[in-house]
Point group: C3
Chain length 312, copies 3
Amino acid sequence: MKKYTHIDDIDNINSWIEEAKEIKANPLKNIALGKNKTLGLLFFNSSLRTRLSTQKAALNLGMNPIVMNVSGDAWGIEFEDGTVMNGTTAEHIKEAAAVVSQYCDVIAVRAFPSLTDKEKDESEQVLNSFVKYASVPIVNMESAISHPLQGLTDALTISENSTKKRPKVVLSWAPHVKALPHAVANSFTQAMQKMDVEFVIANPEGYNLNSEITKNTRITHNQNEAFKDADFVYTKNWSSYDDYGQVLNTDPNWMITKEKIDEAKFMHCLPVRRNVVVEDAVLDSDSSLVIEQANNRTYAAQLVLKKILEDL
Amino acid sequence: MKKYTHIDDIDNINSWIEEAKEIKANPLKNIALGKNKTLGLLFFNSSLRTRLSTQKAALNLGMNPIVMNVSGDAWGIEFEDGTVMNGTTAEHIKEAAAVVSQYCDVIAVRAFPSLTDKEKDESEQVLNSFVKYASVPIVNMESAISHPLQGLTDALTISENSTKKRPKVVLSWAPHVKALPHAVANSFTQAMQKMDVEFVIANPEGYNLNSEITKNTRITHNQNEAFKDADFVYTKNWSSYDDYGQVLNTDPNWMITKEKIDEAKFMHCLPVRRNVVVEDAVLDSDSSLVIEQANNRTYAAQLVLKKILEDL
Amino acid sequence: MKKYTHIDDIDNINSWIEEAKEIKANPLKNIALGKNKTLGLLFFNSSLRTRLSTQKAALNLGMNPIVMNVSGDAWGIEFEDGTVMNGTTAEHIKEAAAVVSQYCDVIAVRAFPSLTDKEKDESEQVLNSFVKYASVPIVNMESAISHPLQGLTDALTISENSTKKRPKVVLSWAPHVKALPHAVANSFTQAMQKMDVEFVIANPEGYNLNSEITKNTRITHNQNEAFKDADFVYTKNWSSYDDYGQVLNTDPNWMITKEKIDEAKFMHCLPVRRNVVVEDAVLDSDSSLVIEQANNRTYAAQLVLKKILEDL
């Protein structure tokens, strides 16, 4: 595999899930595969799970992880072509990506959206610049509009915890105090579209995701109706897509409660704000899969790195 | 061993000291013990010695250390139960600790006190939350009121440098420009209470440590009297405990001088402000053990990690 | 080798270049040499190439790299002797260097100049304090006035790309918006003085480098004349040395263009501001060696570390 930047880089989600389960059952089996290979983890934004689980995945494959907080540790990077660089950026991505490719066999990048410029965010400028100018495979650790390591993790978690041939999975928006990106919701939607599940999205009016991503997925503004007979309730806040990056609604009635989700399993990518997005009673119950989801981040990353290493 | 958060986790200080000496004599002997095990080092505060010596200890045991500056690298963590998280914290310790436990076989945490809220500091909220919500062993890399890796280091250093069966050890307060925590003084006191030494604490009025920690240890406000026939002078500034977190005294007469300590060995956990806490002539003399103390931090940490690994 | 802080630590540049080429051809040959040895990388300033390439070099030698951003991660360090440390610095270099020497077998340091105090910058206070107070070998990852890992890299790159017995090499100043250090230009000059090249420096009036460094190297204020028949054009901005640390000139006529350098190979240490220092057409052409230069940073660092490890 030459890159992993989008859910579409998964050629067959069912076989990937099976392979991820094998890795989870025997995580050190391929520890010779990454010997003397280096994974560069470049963070333009904060990270806990992604930072640690991707390092852990690399270690399980015998790789050497090198972590860098780009903004704090290095130089301001310029992404525009042809700029006269007399401002605050000191190094162009053309050089930065090419240079890092000399030291790292694989580069993983996290770069969040602005949430102020839809067109620019959708161009995936940072991620795609790395793909374009690096000479080694790029892994997306959450970009402006995609978080495919999380989407793969979520598919694995649903597969592991499903007791039905075709479970009902609901992606529900929930309130939050800040404007958040769409990346997790987008990649979860795209992963579910590849799986044999009954998939519904519940969000308030004005909060529909990009229709080019949701396609013919059913969207409802009635959360209770969506939750009826749900097997999995995946929760995430996102800011408005139509009124781009705006917080139009903080209605606490959309918060996830134990009563609402009944017997359904609760999922969230974390970090999650307790008693804003979801009440304590859900997270502290056996219905919550969030910690196991976080655990699966390691195996999703390890599967991706394994496929990349096998193809180096 | 299931955790190392307090000097009381040392079951037998003399046997621990002997084992630490064996590790120091042959630091790579157990390099197979930590193979494919990961130590997560989580810093809520600055660190030089602890940061490097704990990593070195992990490497000597063959472990993979992963370092994270929690505040800068990840998300603001909420420690209160039942909070509606609509403020600045983005992730609850319940999730954070459980999640990090998925990636790390052992978690080491540094989190200093507020020095403004005695009750909260004494509850050891951060450290104890990790102990409560993590599913792996926790190592204290200096908490609100304890620094047991330093205390163990100091016991080892005194044992190595003692020429008497029962040396006289003085813990002396010294002046400083800032309000500092009590953790080092507390853990040193508790370590000395376990050892066969004549132990005295010298501090100005208003600077007695928590009497639940000092117990029946002799406290004097007369530094010169305390230093008489001392074999070891351990120096540390701390803010007032009774007038919690306040700087009541910066009297330079309490600064440690060569003349005052005479033939005694000088100890300090570092960092130390020269010519405020102690004069150059002491630190630059053969009486100073501070560099060897810092060296012993590696072996104290390695002993603790070894005991934890043996019990995983 | 006991330290690598200056180009003068290279005893024979031609044999070093040959050895660096051998390392580049077989970078993992000496992976047993650094086993269980630790390299501490201490950054007082930003770094991309140096940070990653020096880690990569250490990994190629089997060493364990430990990275620390001194300012953010640890304590403010005092470098003056005899100070009463009642200000913002919390730890003296005497302790800091001695302590880090306990945990690291080799220490690499990056510390830029103030550009406000020539005498202090030229004293190399930070670097030389580490040399003086550390008990292990010190590697200079760019100090106030020297960047010898870059100078060695550049010598290697010229040797690899030269088609003549005695190529013409021009070091040309170029404009920049900020006041930059002299370290790269100094070390490049000193490296070229050791090689069998025709070496010329081109810079505007008021921008001559320290004459104790340039010695009898030819300096011209006529860039076009310097570029005539040049084989290599090495470009770098620096602030004025005579009018210390000032930006006297931002004349865009000094920017490097494809037309100006004609057939010459273009070199720069990076990061480089496009269309300020050099136009896109140069960097995006086959004449540019900048990415290969960055690649060679690994092998220069690896050669230095190898020589140090062989002598531990």
